[in-house]
Assembly symmetry: C2
Homo-oligomer: 384 residues x 2
């Protein structure tokens, strides 16, 4: 049997018949009740108790001291970077293997993404090659480090927890400390993922979450900033709500802010989703086990497993093709999608996008290799 | 009787007893039905038929060729300006008397707001004083006009229809043509307002609407871009949805985009609200007539009426204090708010905000005078 037919058979064995999208949300809790209550209250918009509740419950669940709900994950990351001191003209280290939102958030601040390599073990930033690269290109200056090749300050790094798998935070935190870089986690994909028993998104100075429709829980569109620094959390809340100074009637703004608040009606959906998160996580672990078992039948394909010492949310289930069959990737994508088993490859790597191809970058052998090997397969909670 | 007590009596005569907020939304249509249907479909997020429907119905209602639904009015304005060719380093003319979002949208593009004066007749940009100012400060260059005082190109103007009252579009369009400026309407407040029988927001190259919780219709949070140029509409849709190239599985982005799409669940709310818009507009006209009649009883205060030849949506009902009583403004605000009749003054003028106080500006005698005279009073649809 051809490889793509074998893969279809194995996916069918796990998912069953019919159409299976890559990731669809599941609304079997209090979604409608909370949304109904929200509409009845007339507070559907910028203030309301569901926003407050969602923020408290996110902080509780993740163990972060504070959560600030915003309009999406990209906005969360943009504000996190700004509050971490990223300024116009700075460079920010990030994986080439990420969703474009990571690079866009840096671009919106008039800073420059600087792409570095990923690790086979985690799919996230590789601290070893990053350490070598920084030794090679950086020099210490009074306010941190400078890229000798571009002359620009390197201000921060953004590890991203790819498809929910935690990256090597210990190694990256050590580098951040050594090179005086701010570490901001892009935890858009990793709600429910733990690095050594501690929730991802609680290691960086600030981090971002996403609740887009394809995420493990959804608010329609939405995101959040996590931080353990109360002062930064207050500032995040302030600038994501147009920086309006509190006053009963005056409309004055004490700095440039953003209209990035999460509407109360979206937070109502989020509160209901959060109640079901532990069930979603259990379902996704079952699905990962089932895929692992199924794909043991063929040596050319394996399921990406959570990194050692970590607990992944398995947001997107990820097949890794063996080196010997990477030329079949397009046929596999074509055949599975034609079959109604929705799959997709890794994102186009950031340094290959027209907007970012002239950005600084390290050698990217692993990211480029992974991009040829990754196929995401149907991953919805409730599939098994 | 003291003036503030007289005003409270007149407001009470119109609004009745109890607490009256400045503007609360009204959900008495299909809101719950559509939101329920949206949740049941699982398409709550970035794609879905309520977004398509909301965009079509907005275009139908306004007479614009196309509408693109986005996450809020500020995002709509930012994208409209970008598509109109506003670039980093440009100046953009706008009223000093506006909500801070107008200035922020320009700032996000690394351009500079340039504040000009308003008119007593419309509360919006004064085309006569703007014409004088441009004659005084601008010089023609190959790609448009330059501000002789700053050396920067002046690229566009943003008339804003204050509290729903259409500004002098004929005068401003003539200036825009004469000085080769793009005209982008900030129609955030003027859904349902017409300038000489044509809907506001359809005169500029592009324009922005807002559906924030306090607007005449709400989607929780949301906005839209209007344009009569299909190519610009397609481009607006593309860059507000991360500039992803259409493909069944590949994730490639051909320029820097934004995650600015309106979630389907918010559009579901919007579709239900739009069905009730004509009723809201009728109610607000009744309210304006009642306030006008009531305040005829005292000579020191009058209600702002729609400009000649225009039909205003009367989004926020606006009292104008007579010159002789402007020193009483704070007492009136204090007394009415204490009484549960929620009122507020004009926004702090843009050139008085810390972030924008060093921006270029024309003399602003009328804006400064209006800021001392304006008091917005309870304006919800359904109040009478």
């Amino acid at each position: 049997m051809r490889l793509e037919q074998q893969i279809i058979s194995l996916l069918r064995a796990v998912c069953g018949h019919g159409l299976h999208s890559l990731h669809e949300p599941r609304f079997q809790g209090n979604e409608l009740r909370y949304v109904e209550d929200c509409i009845a209250s007339t507070f559907v918009s910028s203030v309301g108790r569901y926003v407050d509740r969602f923020e408290c419950e996110l902080a509780d669940f993740t163990g972060a001291q504070r959560a600030v709900a915003v309009v999406n994950g990209t906005a969360a990351l943009q504000v996190a970077l700004q509050l971490a001191g990223v300024e116009s003209g700075d460079e920010v280290l990030m994986p080439a293997l990420t969703f474009v939102g990571t690079a866009n958030a840096v671009h919106y601040l008039c800073a420059t993404p600087h792409f570095v390599d990923s690790s086979f073990d985690t799919l996230g930033l590789d601290s070893v090659s990053l350490g070598d690269w920084l030794k090679h290109i950086s020099e210490r200056v009074s306010n941190g480090i400078r890229n000798r090749q571009t002359g620009r300050r390197i201000r921060a790094m953004i590890p991203m927890h790819t498809f929910g798998h935690p990256c090597d935070l210990d190694g990256l935190l050590a580098l951040a400390q050594d090179y005086r870089l701010q570490l901001i986690e892009d935890a858009a994909e990793s709600l429910g993922s733990y690095y050594h028993d501690r929730h991802t998104g609680t290691f960086g100075l600030l981090s971002s979450l996403s609740f887009n429709g394809n995420k493990i829980i959804t608010t329609g569109g939405g995101g959040a900033i996590l931080t353990n620094d109360a002062r930064l959390a207050d500032h995040a809340k302030h600038i994501t709500t147009t920086a309006k100074k509190p006053h009963r009637w005056n409309y004055t703004h004490d700095e440039v802010g953003y209209n990035f608040r999460m509407p109360n009606i979206n937070a109502a959906l989020g509160c209901a989703q959060l109640e079901q998160l532990s069930g979603f996580l259990a379902s996704k672990r079952r699905l990962a086990a089932r895929y692992t078992q199924a794909f043991a039948a063929i040596p050319q394909v394996r399921l990406m497993r959570e990194p050692a010492g970590c607990r992944s949310n398995y947001w997107l289930q990820t097949l890794l093709l063996d080196e010997t069959v990477i030329d079949h990737k397009d046929e596999i994508l074509q055949a599975t999608n034609n079959e109604g088993l929705i799959t997709r490859p890794a994102w186009t790597l950031m340094h290959q996008l027209p907007a970012y191809q002239r950005c600084p970058r390290a050698p990217l052998p692993t990211a480029e290799n992974l991009a040829r090997k990754i196929i995401n397969v149907p991953s919805s909670a409730g599939l098994v």
